[in-house]
Subunit: 518 residues, 2 copies
């Protein structure tokens, strides 16, 4: 694979000076066009040691207008990053639309290093690479351009470069921590790199291999390739792939074929007042203790509340939060996105609120808005909400894998009960603010919502992130069911410890062990 | 001071139920009015141990619409917070306009604890309290309402409450870390609290002392007080105080009385090409080594570049960044604020970019926009930019105190040289994008800018954050001067180590020691 990067290509100083001037002008021009577009550009600079990745990044920063470029390295992990799912730090560094981010190694750094040092095996590496392919596809379909460079050197050239570097007083490389870690096992490193590149070299996000021996050739090549990649991306429409989710069957017209999961709920279930008081009291005490237990074990709990309007989300959340120490939780009500949020993939604003390890986080409405209100109201285009089932599943998989206890509640009431509650809200002073014209409009779209909800539950109730459908007509019954489900999940979750011996837990390999110490 | 909180006030259960309903309705109503306003509300819940601060916070969360409230506690510091100036974590939790934040203790927690445990003395405490007064005034003048509650118990009641709590299985308090730390020295704690409250009880941000013995009385009182505070704030204009900065003298009409600092610059200074090449090469090597040294010592460097249009900011920055490892710096170009940024005090967006310890951060334009373009163009009202000199000085003081090496460059060229550069920019392809109609318009306001610049330098060139005025007509001369000044400041800075024995360094007490190990 790397043969073509060892042929000795070079550029003379005169040619470089001449071409650099033109390239720079064009890069600045395309950057201005980019700034007006909805495209964001992620540039990943990877490669073997001593190939000059730092020099390349500096050169790009020199050529580009820095007012639209951010550079990120991932060598200095903070505890805020460590205490969240691994990809949080990448989400944090994704550029807003119209701008560029240059990433040192990006999401490729850890997999390569971990395979090379034996922290993971080939199968685990491949699982992680699958995740990367999904991640990149998701960003690209949202309008991002991902340009990945691999700077390569032959073993002989690398050795020579390392020798030069160690002699050169001015070298930045000399001061880098962990230098020359990989170069002693050149062929082994090359073979890991090849596996990674082959696996993640997709049509929509190709790798560009660059011979790094001659610095002028290397930089000009990267600059020109980047220019052309941005240019062609801006003149084309976004590459699309059909969403790889379950197909939708066509329902026969018979009413018995049209029933949904929601029709199967027994909404007549109730709980009498005394039983309710006893149960809620016991469960509130329990959830408070569990919250402190989770804090001590540094386990995060994320609870999603979705449901029909007036389904009782707020009341259910309040029954939990009033029992838990306010220092331990955050409750997030999802409203319209800010302009910073709109400049990113729709999941960005949910990633940004993922709490540090040990805390609880309650979402009053969530990322499921994409396949509910945005679908029904037409705010998201068909391919957008259709592909988001898979995106949501991958997002939740990452949460669970990182040790998050994840619960999702759907609070359901019948159409009649909803009407009763709407009318009650209009009558009671402090509830009046909860009812708007929009609620009445949504109510007219009950059938469309029913289809959307059914599909949402079917497609996103995965093994690790099951939906709990809550029969909500009787508030006491619903609240106790929510609290009990939460307590049970936390109890079960706290018995299982996330494995901490590896730096990262590759995809599909949930290293959880039963806690035997009780 | 606390006598009035030990008189045994209480509210019966029936009264509570009745009044709660009404209070809740009114709180929800005022919250909706607030959401449409430009006011943000900061609620601080402080008090003696076992006074039920957590209960109060939970109660407020129960009463209020959570879709406009965030709660913050400050007991669990992350390294991202530890590695930045202390107030970074408070800036992080300030609510955007239209919403509330409830803070456990807020910025009062540390000073009280540190004085109580003897980490600081009375003078240091007072210095910190002065900073708090300034900080709160700044927020209030920007439209914030700060409501501070102190929940108090008599020594006897506190002892009783603690005994009850330790018996009660359900108590959240029981699970709190560090419980009952202060209660063993009741009167000593009370005296520190009194000093803090007296010092920071200002007309524009008063303390409310609340008897906490009876829970119903405590919660109702706090709820009602909060309601009235928000209500009267929304119906009044922002309280203002005249900015406490230097007065502006009236200049006599004679030309020799009108000269500014800028007129004193010798813009004829030049550097010949050979000298330039030698110097820049040496200094670039040096700054690279210093950047790594700063990284190892975990010292942050913040460099501000301001200057006239076409003054050479970009070129000067590039001469530095091209020499430093791209992993070590971030360069921030200040553009129009996003809507999230607009929802906060104007300094918020600069605080948010303060780097973690050990990194360099270059600001291409900065918080000085407030007293330059915003002043001259009238984007900021007179009192707004007038009070910002003091706000900026306090901000920079905090940076320096926390160990940041801070530099501020003003790059100046003559009006003739500016004209030459403007024309050159219009002629050279890759420079064309740098010149806009706005630049020409700004040029017409040269006299107004000159006055603004002169006042800015005079008022913000403090001992710890001096302006370096750079004679910019000759680019080589300017670039070398910038690089040399930076290197000298970093060298001097790295010799001095911030003191790390205290958890916090109180205001005005720069605990720096000369590093004797070389």
């Amino acid at each position: 694979m790397f043969e073509a990067t060892k042929v000795g290509r070079s550029v003379s100083k005169e040619d470089f000076v001449e071409q650099q001037e033109e390239l720079r002008t064009q890069l600045l021009e395309i950057q201005r066009t980019l700034a007006q577009s909805k495209t964001s550009v992620v540039v990943i600079i990877s490669g073997v040691e001593a190939a000059g990745k730092g020099e390349v990044v500096n050169r790009l920063n020199e050529w580009l207008d820095t007012r639209g470029v951010q550079t990120f390295a991932y060598w200095d992990e903070s505890d805020e990053e460590r205490e969240r799912p691994r990809y949080w730090r990448f989400w944090r560094s994704l550029p807003p639309r119209g701008s560029l981010a240059i990433l040192f190694g990006g999401w490729y750094l850890a997999p390569i290093e971990h395979r090379f040092t034996g922290i993971c095996n080939d199968a685990e590496l491949d699982a992680e690479l699958n995740r990367i392919v999904d991640f990149e596809r998701m960003l690209i379909q949202d309008g991002a351009l991902i340009v990945k460079f691999w700077c390569h050197l032959s073993e002989k050239d690398q050795k020579k470069r390392l020798k030069e570097l160690s002699r050169d007083d001015r070298s930045r490389w000399k001061m880098l921590p962990d230098k020359a870690k990989f170069s002693e096992h050149y062929s082994q490193y090359e073979s890991v790199a090849e596996r990674v590149i082959r696996h993640t070299d997709r049509g929509i996000s190709p790798w560009y291999l660059v011979e790094a021996q001659d610095r002028r050739y290397r930089d000009l090549t990267i600059g020109k390739t980047l220019l052309h990649a941005i240019r062609s991306r801006l003149s084309e429409s976004i590459p699309t792939e059909p969403p790889s989710t379950l197909g939708i069957v066509d329902l026969p017209d018979s009413p018995s074929a049209q029933i949904t999961l929601l029709d199967q709920l027994d909404l007549t279930q109730t709980l009498d007042r005394d039983q309710y008081r006893d149960e809620i009291c016991r469960l509130q005490q329990e959830v408070n203790e569990l919250a402190w237990g989770a804090y001590k074990q540094k386990r995060t709990t994320v609870v999603v509340f979705e449901g029909v309007d007036a389904g009782g989300k707020g009341g259910a959340i309040r029954r939990i939060t009033s029992a838990i120490d306010a220092r331990l939780y955050r409750s997030i009500s999802v409203a319209a996105p800010t302009d910073e949020e709109k400049a990113h993939h729709y999941l960005w604003r949910f990633w940004r609120h993922i709490p540090r390890a040990g805390y609880l986080c309650f979402y009053d409405r969530s990322w499921y808005g994409r396949v509910l209100v945005e679908r029904v109201e037409g705010f998201a285009k068909d391919p957008e909400w259709q592909r988001s089932y898979a995106e949501i599943n991958q997002f939740e998989e990452q949460l669970v894998e990182s040790g998050v206890i994840l619960l999702k509640f759907w609070l359901h009431v019948s159409q009649e009960e909803q009407l009763r509650r709407f009318k009650e809200r209009e009558a009671v002073a402090y509830k009046k603010y909860k009812i708007t014209d929009e609620d009445w409009r949504n109510r007219d779209k009950w059938p469309q919502y029913k289809v959307a909800i059914n599909e949402m539950v079917a497609r996103t109730s995965t093994e690790s992130a099951t939906w709990t459908l809550v029969e909500g007509n009787d508030k006491p019954f619903a609240r106790v069911k929510v609290l009990r489900t939460l307590c049970d999940a936390m109890k079960a979750g706290l018995r299982r410890q996330p494995c901490t011996d590896g730096v990262y837990v590759p995809c599909g390999n949930k290293r959880l062990r039963e806690d035997t110490e009780g």
